[in-house]
Assembly symmetry: C2
Homo-oligomer: 315 residues x 2
Amino acid sequence: MPVELRDLRAFLAVAEERSFARAAERLNVAQPALSRRIARMEAELGFPLLARTTRRVEPTPAGTVFAAKARGVLEEMDLAIDAATRTAQGRMGEVCIGYNDFAIGGPLPDVIQAFRAEHDRIWVQLKRAGTEEQLRLLRRGRVDVCFLIGPIVADGLNRHTVWRDRYCAVAAENDPLVAGPDVALADLAARPHVLGDRAGWQAYRERVRRLYTRAEAFPEIVAEGPDTSVVLGLVASGVGVTVYPACIENVFRRGVAFRPIRDVDATLDTLMVWDPDRISPAATTFVEAAIGHCARWPDGRYDTNVRAMPRVMTL
Amino acid sequence: MPVELRDLRAFLAVAEERSFARAAERLNVAQPALSRRIARMEAELGFPLLARTTRRVEPTPAGTVFAAKARGVLEEMDLAIDAATRTAQGRMGEVCIGYNDFAIGGPLPDVIQAFRAEHDRIWVQLKRAGTEEQLRLLRRGRVDVCFLIGPIVADGLNRHTVWRDRYCAVAAENDPLVAGPDVALADLAARPHVLGDRAGWQAYRERVRRLYTRAEAFPEIVAEGPDTSVVLGLVASGVGVTVYPACIENVFRRGVAFRPIRDVDATLDTLMVWDPDRISPAATTFVEAAIGHCARWPDGRYDTNVRAMPRVMTL
DNA sequence: GCGATTGATGCCGTATCGTTATGGGTACAG
DNA sequence: CTGTACCCATAACGATACGGCATCAATCGC
């Protein structure tokens, strides 16, 4: 019968009290139970841990060594339980967040900063991807939470709108298009466009297409890029103009200017999306913190569709 | 009922096998016993460690963390038992050795070097003291083994003669006394002497006194020193001469020369002394190694008085 | 839809553990 | 030297926990 933690506790009590009787009192057991427990453990180990005379009890050299190590074992055990508890309560762990260029240019840095300040035991991983790729990662469990733009087919997924942007016209800073305080959609549509490529920007390109379709305009696309920096680079070079959410105000690119679009009211929502059936405690903590953080923004609340999430997983 | 090590073993088996049935087989228990054990542990912790569907078992985030920590706990436990076992077997620990100037100039460095080469897990502490002080330290348990000169009252102590020295005459190198190949005791006795002081050299002074008494000589003592370096320093300065065991050949002091004493056959034994009733396993290892080492010396064996020592303490 | 597989549950026998009573040996006081 | 107090070990007995068997419920694959 191997040595158990209760054996360690019993032994340490005796070693510290230097008395079976006092140790038994401390452990709230009778003294014979202690004597036998220690004796059994010593038989298991094959050597004595305590040198008993009828008057005094003191650890053998092996007992002294074992006591020190045993304390370490019990401490490790406590730490293990602590860590597991914190993990189960969502106060520790790792959360992997998918994001797109709008989210990282818009609300996400604030959200993450506030979250990390409050939960320094939760490690935040970030993974950049477009809407479709993020949803695929979410289904595979590779990310816990997504920040993306709609539309999404939300079969069983929770969503929360965290940000709402108007659209802006973006052009080279010396372009006459951005000479005035704002831009008419028709003027913008008349120009050749630069857009994110189909691989990662499918959802956004669809939104832009609808924007122009409503105005019966069909701008020509003359260049594409994999991400915002490339698109803005192309815009700065004068290849074309583009349409970008207002979060572009947080993105600095030399040689580029942006203006509100005078006759467009449509907005682009950034959604936080997660799977309530598979979400980890740490990710739950993040989602809750993010929702709370968004609620404090002056723009007010947005529509949300959140099923109840148990704070601690139930047994 | 707190979490025990067997709970950790059970949990790790299930977490690794990802199956209660397979884990039960591995642990040589029936599957229901495992189910109940895990369930009881989860109830104790307050959160689930394993997410079960009827077809698959996988750890929760808390379970993953707990598994990693639990492995550490079990490893610590094994290390604790290992360390205690090694200590009990005298393969690990600390041995505190008392020594005098003759021992450190004679056999002790060799003994310690050979011992440390063979037992790198045993820490060797050294404490310099005279015969009486060493025996006092031994009784108080402050040292495990003594290297000293007799005579000693050995009530219950073990002893082993590890070294035997003839006496030498020591004088300043330009002293006519040491001009020849050896020295007559009467010539030596006629000179003023330097000796170790009474505080730490009581036993040796007694031996020297007897040496001269047998030759009916009573040399004058003109200076004393606390240790060999001081005595030899005084000799080098020409204050007086001294008598020192032949191990002085290992002690270099500029300006000093030594010669055998022509008409003295008496020898000085260095004894290893320990208390067989209180000796630690590590010290037992040392004593055995030292005896073995001494046996390999060309001078042959010396008389010894060693009670049997159990190699491993009995239960 | 049916069998196979997997984990959970109920029941029971047993080993383990804890408690009380007692014994043996030592230190201390008188 | 003797009596007493104290301390740990042992014995006997009762309570608890534990493991094994049989069975049930749920899911997957055919």
